[in-house]
C-alpha cells in the first residue's frame, strides 16, 4: 500500500500552512519595525512594545480581559463538565434532546445573534451592563466548547471503574471525584484553556454584553483598528497571539497525552513511557 505522501500531498499541505501563517508572521515581524508606518520597514526595535507599556487604556483593557477570561473559563469548565457527564453518562433522561440542542447550537450560532439576545436578556433583567455581564456571556458560549472537549474524553472512559469505587462504598459524588475526575483531568485542563482563549479573543459578544467601564482588549483593539494599521496594534496582537498560542498548545498537549488504558489487564499489556506520566487515582 502506498502510504507515504506524494509530491502533490506535500505541496498542498505546505501551501495551506503558508496561507494560514504568512499573515501572522508578517504581523509579528512588523511589530518590531522601528518606523511609524506599519508596512515600511525601518529597522528593528522594541519601540512599540515600550509604547505599549505607557498606554494605560490598553493595559487596562488587558487586565479586564484577563479577569473576564479566568472567571468565564472557570465557570464554563464546571458547567461544561456537568453537561458532558449528562450527555455521555446520563442515558435517556427527560429533556435530553432539548438539552443537547442547547449544548451544541451555540457552537455554530452566529455571534451577532448570541450577543444581541444576551444583551436583551440583561436589559430585561435590569442587570447593569459591564464586567459581570461579559463574564456571564462568555461562560455561556464557552461552556459548549468545554462540554465537547470533556465529552470526547469521557466517551472513552471506562465507567466500570467508577462503579467499582461505588461498590467499594464510595458515595456517587465521592467516586466521581476520586476516580473519574483524575482520569479526565487533562481534558478538563484543556477545556479551561480553550475557554480562556475564546474569551480572550471575543469581540462581538463582548461588545453587546459590555457597558461603560468594562472595555475588553478586543473591543479596544477594534476601535483602534478602525482608525487604520498602526505598529502598536501589531505589538499587542503579537503578544496576544503568543499567549493564546501557548495556551492552546498546552491544551493540546494535555489532551493528546496518551491515556493509560483504564482496564488494569490492558495496562499490564501496554506499558509505555507515557503510562508512567498518566494521571491515575
Amino acid at each position: 500500500m502506498s502510504r507515504g505522501p506524494t509530491l502533490f500531498n506535500r505541496v498542498s499541505v505546505a501551501l495551506g500552512l503558508v496561507f494560514l501563517y504568512a499573515p501572522i508572521v508578517l504581523l509579528v515581524v512588523y511589530s518590531f519595525n522601528d518606523g511609524r508606518l506599519a508596512t515600511v520597514w525601518a529597522g528593528a526595535s522594541l519601540r512599540w512594545y515600550r509604547a505599549l507599556l505607557n498606554d494605560a487604556q490598553m493595559l487596562d483593557a488587558v487586565w479586564v480581559s484577563l479577569r473576564v477570561g479566568v472567571l468565564a473559563a472557570s465557570l464554563a469548565t464546571v458547567l461544561g463538565a456537568l453537561a458532558a457527564v449528562a450527555l455521555t453518562r446520563g442515558g435517556r433522561f427527560r429533556g435530553r434532546l432539548g438539552f443537547s440542542a442547547m449544548v451544541y447550537a451555540p457552537l455554530v450560532m452566529p455571534e451577532v445573534i448570541l450577543g444581541l439576545s444576551l444583551l436583551l436578556l440583561f436589559v430585561a433583567l435590569d442587570l447593569p451592563r459591564g464586567f459581570w455581564t461579559v463574564v456571564l456571556s462568555h461562560a455561556t458560549v464557552t461552556l459548549c466548547y468545554a462540554a465537547v472537549v470533556i465529552g470526547a474524553r469521557l466517551s472513552s472512559f471506562d465507567w466500570t471503574l467508577e462503579d467499582a469505587a461505588r461498590d467499594l462504598g464510595r458515595r456517587p459524588l465521592g467516586a466521581f471525584l476520586a476516580v473519574t475526575l483524575p482520569n479526565i483531568a487533562p481534558a478538563v485542563g484543556a477545556a479551561w484553556m480553550l475557554a480562556f482563549a475564546l474569551s480572550l479573543d471575543d469581540l462581538v459578544i463582548a461588545s453587546f454584553a459590555s457597558g461603560p467601564g468594562a472595555t475588553t482588549l478586543p473591543m479596544r483593539l477594534y476601535s483602534q483598528v478602525r482608525l487604520g494599521v498602526n505598529p502598536e496594534i501589531n505589538a499587542v496582537s503579537s503578544l496576544i497571539i503568543g499567549g493564546v498560542g501557548a495556551a492552546v498548545a498546552a491544551a493540546w498537549l494535555l489532551q493528546s497525552r496518551r491515556t493509560a488504558p483504564t482496564r488494569p489487564s490492558l495496562r499490564l499489556r501496554a506499558p509505555g513511557p507515557s503510562c508512567a506520566r498518566s494521571p491515575r487515582s
Binding site: 508596512t39 453537561a83 455554530v108 455571534e111 436583551l120 480553550l194
Partner: protein, 293 residues
Amino acid sequence: MRRRRGGLAALVPGLWLALFFAFPFLLVAKLSLSHTALAMPPYAPQLDLAAGWPGLVETVRGFDLATYRRLIDDPLYLKAFASSLGLAGAATGLLLLIGYPIAYGVTRFRPATRRLLILAIALPFWTSSLIRIYAWIAILKPAGLLNKALGLLGLPALNILNTNAAVLLGLVYAYLPFMVLPLYAVLDRQDAALLEAAQDLGASPRQVFWRVTFPLSLPGAAAGALLCFIPMVGEFVIPDLLGGSGTLMLGRTIWTEFFANRDWPTASAVALVMLAALLIPILLVQRHARVAP
C-alpha cells in the same frame, strides 16, 4: 439510578443554558414585534409587570408586524440577505476545494507528523479572528505588502481591499481550519482494509481515490460545509474590516442597526429572519455532532 444521575448532572447546565441561551430568543422575538421609541431601552411597548394581566394585554396590543414589513419593503435588507448567502456559499465552495487536498495530504504523513500538522492547522482557529483579519489589511491595502511584492515582480498592482473579493478571501482564510478538521477526521478514520481490497481487485490509485476514499469522505465534507456556512452568514468582523461600504452582510446589518441607528426592533427582526433561514442547517449539525456515539 444511572438515569436519575444523568438528569441531575444536566440540571445546572440545563437551567443555565435555558436562561442565558434559549429564553433570550423569546425576548428577541418580542422585540422584533415592537417599534422604536426615544427612550432607554429604545423601544415600545414595555412590559409592565406591576400592571399584571391588563398590562400584559396592553403590551401584546402594542405589537405589530411593521418592522417585518419594512424588511420586505426596503431593498437594502433583501440585498444584505442575498449577498450574505451568496458570499457564504461561494466561500464554502472555495473552502471545500482548498481544504480537501490539505486534509487528504495530512493523512498521508506518518502519525507523529500528522498530529503536529493538525495542531498547526487548528492553532490559528483559536487565535483572535480580529487580529488575523487585521493582518490582512496591511497586506491588501494599496501601498501594502502584496502590491510591493507584485511591484518587485513587475506585475500590476491589485487593489482589492474594501471589496467583496477581499471579504471572500478573509472568509476562506478565517474558516479554513473549520473545514480541514472535520474532513481530516473522516479521512483519517477510513478503514485501510477497504483501500487494500480495492487495490487487490485491480484498481489504480486514482480509481481507489475516486471510487472509495472520496465517496466515503462526503459526510466530513458536509460537516465542514455546515460548520463554515452557518457562522459565515452572520459574520461581522470580516465584512466590516475587509469589505467596502457597499458590502452588505447580515451580521454587519444587525450591528449597524443596533449600535449606529439604535434601532433595536429592526436588529432583532433581521436576527430572527437570519436564524429562521439557518435553522435547518443548524438542526443538521446537531444531528451530526454527538459527544458520544
